[in-house]
């Protein structure tokens, strides 16, 4: 009996995986490495060649009030964007987990914002939340003499931006939770009902544990997208009103790199952001996955 040659088999798997590996190396790893390289220099596109400055950019970064403010803004935004669409999405998904044309229509309605461009969404909400926009006009019609400055009040603007992100991401969470709900075996729920469990108990004891993978997906996707928030901030507030009220790290990276031409320093910001996102994602994944395994 002849043994199959090993080399063709290796070649078979290598050829299968190679395109993906090449794409990953070229479009993910290479830019990260190039960015890291830039972060160790004082690179300015108008003033080549760049000089090697070692970790100086990183040292300055953690003394930079603007960066620390951006870090605070990004953290607040991320906490809101991870929690709110997750909670609301779960509630809406439970309500919509029924058959019938009305529920189908409502599902489509909730999902529509997800497929819109974030820039379009931002423009629409900028108009709605303007001090002379329909939201405040409605409040004035209801007798509110001085309605809030949703985008002009420095204490409110960040929450307005976060609300817009939540609004768009809600549909995504709803769809993921609905998929999870539809994967819950009916027999388990029936068995629980026969055992005398009410709707709340059934949800807590049967449905919720089985939704763990959906929670993991939603949390990780929301965490990553919230940390990279740039487009909403750029269009809705341009980082304002004033200094650092809504400027996220991603926004600061582009402002510092493209407007002020400090590419080296901006690259250091981007690297710090990458490390934070990677660390948080790993922690969250480990925590939530353990919950899935425990089922």
């Amino acid at each position: 009996m002849r043994r199959k040659p090993i080399l063709p088999r290796v070649w078979h798997f290598a050829s299968f995986g190679a395109p993906g590996v090449v794409v990953y190396l070229c479009f993910v790893m290479a830019p990260i490495l190039i960015s890291f390289g830039y972060s160790l220099t004082n690179h300015n596109p108008f003033n080549p060649p760049a000089e090697f400055v070692g970790l100086e950019n990183y040292r300055l970064l953690f003394q930079d009030e603007q960066f620390l403010t951006a870090l605070r803004v990004t953290t607040i935004l991320t906490v809101i964007v991870v929690i709110v669409p997750n909670l609301l999405g779960l509630g809406v998904a439970v309500l919509l987990d029924r058959k019938g044309w009305l529920y189908n229509a409502l599902r489509s309605m909730f999902f529509t914002p997800v497929i819109l461009s974030s820039v379009v969404v931002s423009i629409i909400w900028t108009k709605l939340l303007d001090d002379r926009g329909p939201v405040n006009d409605a409040l004035r019609a209801l007798g509110v003499e001085h309605p809030p400055g949703w985008l002009s009040d420095p204490d409110l603007a960040l929450y307005s931006v976060a609300s817009i992100v939540c609004w768009q991401m809600l549909g995504f969470c709803v769809v993921v939770y609905l998929a999870g709900l539809q994967g819950v075996p009916a027999e388990l729920l029936e068995a629980a009902e026969i055992d005398g469990a009410g709707p709340v108990r059934r949800f807590r004891a049967v449905t919720w544990p089985l939704l763990a993978p959906s929670l993991t997906i939603n949390t990780v996707v929301l965490l990553i997208s919230a940390f990279k928030t740039y487009d909403y901030v750029k269009v809705v507030t341009n980082g304002g009103p004033g200094s650092g009220t809504t400027a996220t790290i991603a926004f600061d990276v582009l402002a510092t790199g493209l407007d002020a031409n400090h590419v080296g320093y901006a690259s250091a910001m981007a690297m710090v952001m990458l490390v934070i996102v990677a660390t948080l994602t790993t922690i969250v994944l480990r925590f939530l996955r353990r919950r899935e395994v425990d089922l």
Binding site: P45, F46, Q66, D131, W150, S152, A157, T237, S243, N261
Partner: protein
Amino acid sequence: MRRSFALGAALLLAASLTGCTVGGGTNASGGEITFLTFETPNLPPSYWDSAIKRVTDRDPGLRVKKLVAPSTDRTGYAKQLLQSGQFPDVAIAVDSAGFAESGNLYAWTPEELKDFQFPGANPIKGGHHQLPANTQTIPPIYYNKKLFADAGITSTPSTWNELLAASEKLKAKGVTPFTIGGGKEGFPSAMLLDGLVSVDVYGKTPDWLSQRRADQVKFTDPAFQQAFGKFADLVAKGYLDKTQVSRDYSATEAAFLNGEGAMYPMGNWFAASADAKKPPFEIGVFNFPSEDGKLVVPAYTGGGIVVNAKSRNLDAARKFALAFQLDKQQIDASVKADGLFPAIKGYTPPADVGPVFKAGYELYKEAVAKDAVVNAFSWETADDGLLPGMKDKVYQAAQDVITGRRTVADACAFLDTEWAKAR
């Protein structure tokens, strides 16, 4: 053998065609160039297309490929193009700072600049890289004549105290004296600050920003703080509405044209909209008042075409730039569409321009005649301009004072800190 022959024939044909294109024609510039433009409601595609066609009609060998910046941030887009090796041969209204120092822009000769009124505008390391095609006064103050009359204001303010008195009368009538904006553009929230620094600081020390670059003065110095303090005083007196800082530029303009707010500090380009949109009230304009009534008019001259010094078709690019910029029909169109004051020797605007443009142009001509023109703070683009990235910091400082997040002293200290970082 046959393949080698075919390859040789193809190369010969290609070489001969290339030779025809580059060397073809004696009077024509020849070749294809790329031209980076931008579009706004005032300057739609038809404006650019017809202006380009007029030049190429006169120069049949020249082909122009129009590129359009995806947003009003032409400079940012030009940087992206430069980084990706696609820097256009010709670009208009792109801030030349950075591009010029790094050797990417052609420096115009005195002979080429002979038709321009201010050939010495915007020097960068001694070179003049952007055609000084037009001047913009930034900001005169546009006002609603009806609201002024209703408040009993009979003459336009020429001193700071007169401006405050007029503002008080307007406020007493329930009118917000100043219309401001901000939003994603930022600059409409700093227009009053720009005017104050230009008139009060540059009026006394015209090279103040050059001194700032040399670290001889600071934003925290009394002269700058005093001007900023007047801005804060307008806020404290309730003469501008802090909720307006979320409004973008077009919404700000619309608000003034809808009769919200009596005064609108804005660049003279607003005159084109004011004349075209014809609001139901008359609009007047006056120079930004100084402390004692001395005439000081902030202005920026530039905004014209820059040429890629490394262009493969440099000769054609230069010729196109000059032909485009000096074409009378194009200049007339820019006057009507964008309210620009052409800085071309011997030029007179068409007789049928609107009244708001005419009024602003007369104010500017008087300032030129009296040698009362100074740089417009935060709009300079050359060796005497703000460092890259600092414009946004000025807008932020202005907004912080409007919204009450920073005192004047803190805002000035913030600018000094950001200046040190921008170096």
